[in-house]
């Protein structure tokens, strides 16, 4: 049997978390179920358990992201691991050291896990293929390819508020073209059995043949939001707004920014999600971001638990 999924070993156990694409339903559910127990840990007075004591986890950020790094750092510390932050952009890489030499070096220091953020798609896969057995890699975002822990925390959030995936209409709204988050969300939603996943975006912000991912395409919010249960907003990267893809932030907000008015087109009990950080007044209005239907901050809370779950499953110490 050819092992087509580099994330799983021959027994189907999770070795790395690189993408939600091809992750079996049972594994998705296992991660979500594990995360439930970690939500409890993060709410305790002493938010710390000794599960990963003596493990060395490296936050290997080739692309700067204090926010994402922080979520992994907290998750690891609450599991009692030793965490080492490496911002490679400003150090070894500037000395010309190659990516895999850096990884080999840190592996030789008896690393247990790498949390990798990189501007290039495929970087985490490359590292995962390279490291020796027993070292685990978590993709914390690679180029426009994947951001699986973000998608998993989104799934966790949806399940918390909607309980069942099998009767949902979910809309992903915004810059699908450049979004690793959107890709990872679509794969996870599909595997979890969501019958209708929509993407809503201007043509210039949609990948070619996006329909092949099994989604329904809308260019118009009025139509796309109709009867939707879950709205997953995407962050509009500032750098995109200056490019040829978009006329202006104001123009974008007018057509695709989520306002209370547009939200009223969805189901009355629809939830609003955003991976953060938000551009208020660009892709989302503050009234919605801070409104009753927003679950944006719970997403963050669940994100810590989901990362703790992934880390503990990977190290095989899951209680």
């Amino acid at each position: 049997m050819i092992n087509r999924n580099p994330q799983l070993n021959e027994n189907g156990a999770l070795q790395h978390l690189l993408t939600t694409e091809g992750l079996p339903l049972s594994m998705l559910l296992h991660i979500l179920d594990s995360a439930e127990s970690f939500v409890g840990v993060t709410e305790r007075d002493v938010k710390k358990i000794p599960l990963l004591r003596g493990k060395s986890i490296f936050n290997l950020f080739f692309e700067s992201s204090t926010r994402t790094r922080t979520t992994f750092e907290i998750a690891a510390k609450r599991l009692s691991a030793d965490v080492i932050n490496l911002n490679i952009a400003v150090s070894a890489q500037s000395k010309g050291e190659a990516l895999l030499d850096t990884v080999d070096n840190l592996s030789a220091m008896n690393a247990d896990m790498f949390v990798v953020r990189h501007a290039q798609s495929g970087a985490a896969h490359l590292i995962a293929k390279h490291v020796r057995s027993g070292i685990h890699v978590i993709n914390a975002g690679d180029g426009s390819h994947a951001h699986p822990t973000q998608a998993l925390l989104d799934m966790f959030t949806i399940r918390r508020y909607k309980h069942d995936f099998h009767n949902l209409r979910v809309a992903i709204i915004g810059d699908i073209l450049h979004s690793r988050v959107a890709r990872s969300q679509i794969h996870a939603l599909t595997t979890l059995g969501v019958p209708e996943v929509r993407v809503i975006a201007p043509k210039t912000l949609l990948p070619k043949m996006v329909e092949r991912l099994g989604v329904h395409v809308y260019h118009d919010m009025a139509k796309g939001l109709k009867d939707v249960d879950v709205l997953m907003m995407l962050r509009l990267q500032n750098e995109r707004m200056k490019g040829a893809n978009l006329p202006s932030a104001e123009e974008y907000f007018k057509y695709y920014g989520l306002t209370a008015e547009k939200l009223s087109l969805a189901r009355r009990d629809a939830i609003v999600m955003h991976p953060g950080p938000m551009n208020r007044g660009v892709e989302i209005d503050s009234a919605v971001a801070d409104g009753k239907q927003s679950v944006i901050l719970p997403q963050v809370t669940f994100g810590i638990a989901v990362r703790m779950a992934v880390m503990s499953i990977l190290t095989g110490n899951q209680a």
Copy 2:
């Protein structure tokens, strides 16, 4: 009853440490007394107690200050807390994320405490008003407004060497105008009952109507230092020296730099303090900085104990 002090809850317990202004005498003394016990911890062979185990403390530095960040990081680690350093200037903020969105995010990660440094006066207050009950904010310096832990460690140092506040003449010397340290010192000294607080500075470095704070104003070191028990030097910011407020560093040193000669005008047992880092040869001569009357390094030592005390009082775990 209107709760006019955002630092205290309705029972008068400390919720945040934002400023020494309006902090009741009993609370000041409670912090100083608690710090006494933590001085012992920092002198032990194993400088660590499990008081804040499992707590998540975020050093939220919107203005870079390795030195101040280090004091809080050490204090937190010696209390066994998990510490996360965030230098926001170089990350989220540059993505356009607003201050309060950042705080909301970190709060959603189940933060217990924020140590906030910000170039704008009022930033720590803004955050304290915003966070939910149970999350504590320590102001580690906001603009030219306040730096309460510095003032508290100064008070601790004075008490250690002078025992009683009620018969002291204290002079604060230097750039009062831009100094958050001076403001916090004046409020604390006044509340603790120091009968005579003097400020000594050129007119261009004094706030308008500074007398309203209850201090005596001197423009001349010879007069201002006469019979003084405590000299609190201020750091002259380099950026001020280039401005219109001052002719030159040399000129400043001639008139306001503390030399052995000028120090001899104070009481023979007067102590010399400085919040650091010092500009030797500008506001203070090395002979004085390293001299017998200097208590500048003990200030640093006590600073760790004072921060441990504040952190433990805030989290309500004070033994």
Copy 3:
């Protein structure tokens, strides 16, 4: 008796690790023997022992080196110490605070150990002379002077693979002139009794009168590598390649780059070492770097154990 070695106290106990020069044979062997036991710790499931619990170790890096900082950070964390990273280039120093004022400050925070990296030769010595008894300094590289922990891990690696120093031919190859690593290696090899230490380099990359260090000088790889047991490659600094000392990286590789062909001139069981990060295709060919005779990654692994050994010997808690 005059204590000529600032690293040792009057009883010959190690107080600081500043250089391998003048370090007695017994002390070298004590460090290597201690490191043996720590190799075991780094291979355990829980890679952590409580030896330095409650100790405060400061990584004081005045010159940026994520890689070296990481090795010390991991070593300290696996000993359960509290570690504080300070990148001084970007903070206090830019406020004009002098080196020794910074050190005094951190010492006043009850520091136990400073790991110092500085672009200027002698910086670690200066700090070691300055700090009070009980605070230990490890030189993590100062200018072109010394890098003792690198040399010690190299000795550990040689002993592991060659067992005995007394019948070895060791060649150090590359930019001897600017290399603190080479200086520290030569002193350690000589003290450990290696009968023949060679240096191989173009004349422009050799210090004047290098023979005085007791080494044999070669300008030609064919002659220099003959019958050698250990090849210690040096990193060619990028900045050197642009200077007048070298025609080009390609030219350098042709004459001094280690290829399989050149390696075949050494003994068949010779080992190849490199302190990293490597410039593949400049001082070393990938076929050799990743080849059977390379012990470059084991060097990294042993480096953690050696640093743990040094830290634990210094704090006098060595079990």
